[in-house]
């Protein structure tokens, strides 16, 4: 038996077809079965290893006193994506951005988040407020008063990050995003966070404290039970896509200028006209990035360029006029594709030439 299949099975990566073959092999002899059982047993009990608890502290908190389990229940899952507007187009500006994920604390201290430096974050009173890991920060603790201290997190181009707020709300942050949020949400009032860039929110249920995402000139308020919101970057718009439940998008200056979204709808805010429009969409398409996928559907090349620049932290200069007019459809897994892979793929559809110098890619017409 190819042991690759056994290993794929254990790592939960084997197809049903492969597992079928594996099980047939197991049944073929008592010896095979014994071999498999020993292997799976070995795999399962390696969980005894001390390696497993080191960098993987639990995200879910438990209060043994109450003898009650506190699961994270999400009243709201919202996907939010918001336009970087002109900043996204300004390559020179981008170059000056930090290459690291930076956390700014309430008292102005900044921390750079690097790999393998698990740390505890302590507030001025010396209380533990959060744990920091290589790929995420987890805030905990309970609201004690209404003095709100804000932290902010900057995720550079080429990186993504995960933030778990003190109320249990999970925020996936895409490349080139800044979010400002309370270290601890207050006892009373709304839960407000401020976003520039793109984020996917899974909001913890709390009817008494509505959750608000402030983006540019609009607020998006979480009203109902389960839902996703998605607001757009690129141009001068804020877009928001709802998956389940209900959300409201409104003009901060003029709250009566509002729309209430139904599932599978997208609301679009126009910076210039200050109008909000809605349309029906497939929400999975707008949340694909949280799974490390880039999805395009009749997407103009200019938009694709911006997305690639953010995801891979490269600069693309397009001097090919044919390409500028093209649209593309497809899905790319970031972890499995390099920028070259993507360019080669696009080339098959519309031939072009390109050169790469350090982080700059210049696309030209074929001579």
């Amino acid at each position: 038996m190819p042991s690759e299949i056994i290993y794929k099975y254990l790592a939960n990566e084997a197809s049903e077809q492969e597992i079928q073959t594996l099980f047939e092999w197991i049944e073929a002899s008592e010896e095979n079965k014994k071999h498999f059982i020993t292997l799976k047993k070995a795999w399962a009990i390696t969980s005894l290893s001390e390696g497993i608890s080191k960098d993987n502290a639990p995200v879910i908190k438990i209060k043994p006193k109450n003898k009650a389990v506190k699961y994270l229940k999400y009243a709201a899952v919202l996907l939010f994506l918001f336009g970087l507007g002109k900043i996204a187009l300004n390559f020179n500006h981008k170059r000056k951005h930090s290459k690291e994920i930076v956390l700014e604390l309430g008292d102005g201290r900044t921390e750079i988040i690097t790999k393998n430096n698990q740390r505890n974050l302590v507030n001025e009173k010396g209380q533990l407020v959060a744990k920091k890991f290589a790929n995420q920060i987890v805030y905990f603790g309970k609201a004690e008063n209404d003095v709100i201290v804000y932290n902010s997190l900057k995720v550079p181009y080429g990186k993504t990050f995960k933030l778990i707020l003190s109320d249990g709300t999970v925020v996936n942050l895409n490349s080139g995003t800044t979010i400002r949020y309370p270290e601890q949400f207050g006892i009373s009032g709304k839960r407000t966070v401020y976003l520039t860039g793109e984020a996917f929110f899974e909001v913890a249920k709390d009817k008494e404290h509505p959750f608000i995402v402030n983006a540019n000139q609009v607020d998006i308020e979480v009203l109902g039970t389960k839902f996703n919101v998605n607001a757009y970057p690129e141009t001068s718009t804020v877009n928001s896509v709802l998956v389940e439940g209900s959300i409201q998008m409104y003009d901060k200056e003029n709250p009566s200028n509002a729309v209430l979204l139904k599932p599978n709808q997208m609301a679009v805010w126009q910076n210039n006209s200050k109008k909000i429009t809605t349309k029906s969409v497939d929400p999975a398409f707008y949340s694909a990035w949280t799974k490390g996928e880039l999805t395009f559907k009749d997407t103009p090349f200019s938009t694709i360029v911006k997305i690639i620049q953010r995801s891979y932290d490269v600069e693309i200069i397009n001097e090919n006029s044919d390409l500028a007019r093209q649209t593309f459809t497809g899905t790319i897994k970031i972890s499995e594709s390099s920028v070259e892979n993507i360019l080669e793929l696009l080339k098959r559809d519309t031939p072009f030439d390109y050169t790469i110098k350090q982080n700059t890619i210049i696309i030209t017409n074929i001579p």
């Binding site: 292997l39 047993k41 795999w43 009990i45 497993i52 639990p58």
Partner: protein, 199 residues
């Protein structure tokens, strides 16, 4: 090592007295382990975490009956094992495959595997030592791949990229790691077998 051991036995005493901080220490230490064990049989992250939570609630409620530091881990694993068996037997584990016969076969195998693992205090301590040693004894690259895969739940492609090797090489390292662990573990099981018969 000694400092750590004495710290742990002090923490254990506090735990017995019902101090939450001591409980939190053990929770932080073992939560992922119990989840990581259970997921191999319930095949669902959330289910495995719920199961681990439950194990800890039971641990807390039964703290007076735990009589040694090693008893904590033994209690948690034994709880997880019997809970996994219960879930499988009562058909509470979600169907993984379209083919129902395949689901059935997997459950039967899992029951057999779970039943073959004993988590009594002595064996567990010894097993933990052997596993740590075995992982440490893997060739460096193989160990790195194994840790990324097993403990950091990384995809092959991610590992390949991080380590600048091919996908095939990642797979080869994993196969090697498994073979190695199997041999080490079989030796141990065999030794245990002799031990039982000599007694």
């Amino acid at each position: 090592m000694n400092i750590n051991a004495s710290f742990e036995s002090e923490t254990f005493e506090s735990f017995k007295k019902g101090e939450e901080a001591a409980f939190t220490y053990f929770y932080d230490k073992y939560f992922r382990r119990i989840t990581s064990f259970s997921i191999q049989f319930v095949y669902d992250q959330e289910e495995a975490e719920n199961l681990a939570q439950e194990a800890f609630i039971n641990l807390w409620q039964n703290r007076e009956n735990i009589d040694s530091l090693n008893g904590i881990q033994s209690f948690l694993y034994t709880y997880a094992k019997s809970k996994c068996l219960n879930l499988i037997r009562h058909n509470k584990v979600k169907d993984k495959f379209k083919n129902d016969l395949l689901n059935h076969k997997e459950r039967e195998l899992d029951i057999e595997i779970l039943n073959s693992i004993q988590f009594d205090t002595l064996e567990l301590t010894e097993l933990e030592r052997i596993i740590n040693e075995s992982i440490n004894d893997l060739p460096p690259k193989t160990r790195e791949v194994f840790i990324k895969k097993r403990f950091e739940n990384k995809k092959n492609a991610e590992i390949a990229e991080e380590m600048q090797v091919t996908l095939k090489a990642v797979e080869a390292h994993m196969t090697k790691a498994l073979k190695f662990l199997k041999i080490r573990l079989s030796d141990y099981m065999f030794a245990l077998f002799i031990l039982i018969f000599n007694n």
